[in-house]
Symmetry: D2
Subunit: 380 residues, 4 copies
């Protein structure tokens, strides 16, 4: 892990996703035997002592409180960006300009224009990028894709997807920056909905147009200081009817105010020979119905992921032993590292992720304008 050719890693941010990146950087090489070596070179957070403390905990050699220092550090080859979304663009552009590979959390940016700038910069540069749509890395999901490609459920005709949490379900919850468009951009669409788009497009291909309805459940929330209320500018709930380029039709549902849903991200794929159902809250299960064999024995099968669903076996050689959320980040990182080492294109890079983010912006616009919006027309 410390050879001369090892890739130097810089990590910006130490929150939820910062830790997830750190764990992935620490473990991916040991999980997958075929990855390029990495050196945990520098960690950035503010203030400096917090950065130093996390560098020690996460095993990074050095710490800084200046992300510009990190992204231009000659010893750093790859930059993980896990800061609040409003900061992604500036950091990513600077890192790309400095010739670094960039692993950025989703959504890429608050606005589609910003995300498009990032994708352009990535295309122009000679390095690899990766956006943290980690749920597409789940072996259960890639197995669903293989089943579809293999024709197991026939031709896809319809999809439905949902992504719900309850972190904004409590009416008493105080107002935060998440409620302000200037700081957070979209609401549930940007935070959760884009994950669902990454799954649905992975199943049914690119979206062509949408009809939509967004909803702010709690238009104002108590200010944290207890004095009055702040306005909630973005949506708590979003629903859409999707047309895919392939002709498939679909339904999209997302709420950040759905009591009881902790990480409910799932889909149904309706095919001419069968159906596939998935729910992230049971991320190691895939449900499959196929119109085969005697009717009296047909039913939805609950498939537990295992070594038959690569790369599950790199974690545990026994089926049913369960992967966790952080394992998805390790799989995501492995694809990114293989691409950096000259392997096949990783998924999704900035260019591919931009396509996902177009859809959530199209949904928001379709709702605001009360009409069908095509992806083509919002293409910047």
């Amino acid at each position: 892990m410390t050879g001369p050719r090892a890739l130097g890693v810089g990590l910006i941010g130490t929150g939820f996703m910062g830790k997830a990146h750190a764990l992935a950087w620490r473990s991916a090489g040991a999980i997958f035997g075929d990855l390029p070596e990495v050196r945990l070179e520098c960690l950035c957070d503010t203030p400096a002592d917090k950065a130093a403390e996390f560098a020690r905990q996460f095993g990074f050699a050095r710490a800084t409180d200046d992300w510009r220092v990190l992204v231009t550090d000659p010893a750093v080859d790859v930059v993980s960006i896990t800061t609040p979304n409003s900061l992604h663009k500036e950091m990513a552009l600077a890192a790309l300009a400095a010739g670094k590979h960039v692993w950025c959390e989703k959504p890429m940016a608050l606005t589609l224009a910003d995300a498009a700038d990032m994708a352009r910069a990535a295309r122009a540069g000679g390095t690899r990028t990766q956006v943290g749509y980690n749920y597409v890395a789940n072996p259960a999901f890639t197995h669903a894709q293989r089943l579809i490609e293999g024709g197991t459920i026939g031709r896809i005709v319809h999809v439905r997807g949902w992504v719900d949490e309850d972190y904004q379900a409590d009416p008493q919850l105080a107002w935060t920056w998440r409620a302000r468009i200037a700081d957070a951009g979209l609401g549930t669409l940007g935070d959760l909905g884009c994950h669902l788009v990454s799954l649905l497009c992975g199943l049914a291909g690119p979206v062509d147009s949408v009809l939509a309805e967004i909803q702010t459940v709690y238009p104002r929330r108590p200010l944290p200081d207890g004095e009055g209320y702040g306005e909630v500018e973005n949506e708590d709930v979003a629903s859409a009817l999707l047309r895919f380029a392939s002709g498939v039709r679909g339904v999209f549902m997302s709420s950040r105010s759905a009591w009881g849903r902790k990480n409910s991200l799932g889909f149904e794929v309706h095919g001419t020979k069968g159906m596939i159902v998935f729910e992230q809250e049971r991320m190691n299960e895939l449900r499959l119905y196929v119109n085969e064999g005697p009717r009296a024995e047909q039913g939805f099968r609950t498939i537990l992921t295992g070594p038959e669903h690569p790369p599950f076996g790199a974690f545990v050689p026994a089926p049913g032993h369960q992967l966790g959320f952080n394992d998805l980040k390790a799989i995501e990182l492995a694809g990114f590292l293989r691409a950096i080492a000259g392997g096949p294109r990783n998924h999704p890079d900035f260019e591919a992720a931009l396509e996902f983010e177009k859809v959530i912006h199209a949904i928001a616009r379709a709702s605001h304008e009360g009409r069908r919006v095509t992806i083509a027309e919002i293409d910047t």
Copy 2:
């Protein structure tokens, strides 16, 4: 059960729902001790010997192959109409004109205009009507309504519902009259979707307007005689975004081509304090999440219906012992009979059912015209 004042019952039709009505007529009085007595007077089907055979099996005193004879029979006080939907209107109007109470299967008619005619005739007459939206009779459903009324999940903000079967999922299935608008009217909307409307309106009140997308998965099907193909004129799948008069927003999904779904009819009700989830394929269960008590102990509760959920106890005095589909018809009939005997208004009668059927026609129109359609504008 054979006293002089017993209500004379006439049943038209002996198929799926004909048998369901017959069983309800035979059992409801024994299940519920408080119902008016009934006499199984006359059964109608064609040809005559089939009618006679079913009269014997179902315990009706007489048989006929002429429904006009039945609906005008002085010994008949109540008429069950379980024939193909295209025949409902003529039969119902004749029965109402003859002063009979009418229990008619859903949907009331193929067109909204016909359904409206039926509702008008019912309003004008002095008898009771009942439409077979049996799923609203489920104790699990009425308990969900009580939970909502009691504030258990706070204010309702969002609902989602689905109703899916797979009886039209097989591409090889031959063309039938179900595919022709003149014979069948709407597709999945008329057959399944209207049931979903009956549930969603029971949870969130009347619908105000819709955006929608319908889809014919198999535009043509092989003709039964093996020579060529017939056109499928109505929809296999329908999806809609609903606005309710109360301000609640919702999503509506229906497919008759959803492999693996046998009678999947369900909903999620999102409230400010909790959530309720139901699925008819597990019709004796209600799932409830409430934001109460320690977070570490919160979770969706699976409530098994029992005597605490009336009128379950009239069937079985022990919880978890399960009701079945036919039991729902007995509950439906009980409400109808109590209304006939002077009790409170039964639900849904022709007038209430018309409101449900407006919604499915609004969904179809919204899709065809590519715009938001209000219920008010389609009000005939």
Copy 3:
């Protein structure tokens, strides 16, 4: 239903199972077109006005408060016995002596000796008997049997079963006659456990010997009058290790004090090629795993019962539409009536049921004597 040759029915008891019998008597003929006709002749309960009231509700022609009158009534051909278990024997013997067919609820009697007397009397007589082990009538169960017979899961090697409720789980519950051996006989074994035996023997054949442990969770309960405590003489929980004559091994578990279990009666059948799992609280589902096809697609299938699982289709012609508890009694009755009419032997009659009841008494004895008990040695 009132032809000259119709079977006259007498019903003793109007509680939980009395009503279930009444509903079955009223509906079975209409559900199944092939049954002999029946006449609801006489109902017995005490006091007389209660009997009269229930005769009216259930549609019986006459009422009595003297069961001896009923069982010797020349107009009665078949007697339903649904009284407390301690009364079964006397009533059944009298009915058999009078040449009646007898449908008796389970368990047959409080003691094995009494049950054996009943079986002997049945064998000696020329009439048919039926014991109310209704769960073996579930189409999901008989389908499990067909799967086993057809070799779908290979050779059976192991079974596990459980039957749990919570009606005696509350420590505050008052003492009742259920706690006294002289009145109730066995505890959970007699009330619930014998049902489990009926399923396990239907899957794996006769039991050969048992090791067991019974447990009284609450050795005393408050007396209803609030003065002091009454002793609980019989068991709340029973567990056993079973050896079947076939060499199959098994585990038996039963509790009447299992909080949250309302009617949890289920089993796992372990075969050399697959497994079948069933749970009565989801009585319309059968779970099946077969070692067939690609490993990556193997999983437990949840089969929803439907017309492919006879006689489901006699109730509803559409799959997934759900049967309920009372429907099981109608199926049970149909088998009994066909046997009365000269059809194949119904299951279980007194003789077959005696075999089930031997097992629960063997379990009790094995626990009391702290040793393996064979069924042969308790054979009276």
Copy 4:
């Protein structure tokens, strides 16, 4: 991670559990901020080039093919033993003799005498030991323990547990060393059953005595070379009735030949106020029923683990985001490292694990001798 006082780590074995240990060693410090630093010093496997290759992949500084060199290496402070079970004892005794802390996989040894020797040596030494009963580290499990301790389900009266897999379910599977007592010791009891004991004892305290039945489903298996058959000397299935010292009664079930079960390890805890149910195949869920609130709203709650269930939050700060199998090893390691650093006693160390392993040997003996066996009498 490379400070002067960092603990030197030696790892023996690179299979399933070897990798799991390596990943835990790499990640635990980053997950938990409070652990002593570690240095991945030396990895042992045979042959030497395999050891070198895995040392590189797992990030160990050096490699050896001689475990005796590793356990006496002055730079090694802690030894992970993940070799076949028959080798544990010799390695552990040598490591303890060399003054090392030892983390050994379960079961400790093939025979109880060997395990007892290991526990004696651990007691005599001044170092810490840890046995890999990783399922007790699951936040869902420790939360179940907290619920019990807090009285949420009242007094525990009964427990049931199962642990099933299907890796020996296929009759065609070739004979391996796992089938020979001299190499593998017990069958399903040693491989799976001891995990179940670790859970049940964690819920209900020490076991007092057992009745049991073991079963070899496939007494012989084809030899790998295709010539004839090898005898299966140990059990495929084991079932037992348990008496705990506390008076609690229980049922124990285990099979390594249970088709469809991939890592099914679970329990039911029956209390006087409620019930807790757990299943490792859904390791992020805990099901809880409490007799509280209106009966009509009671039901099993499915609790998704999250930050409210420590130390879940050290992995992911959001509930429902799922831990995986390898995360359990990191939690296990954290407890071990804190104990090494002077913190509270870790669980289970050799002494505590010996108590678990006594139970599986008692079960085997009870079955062989056909009588109740007390734990006291097999105490070596």
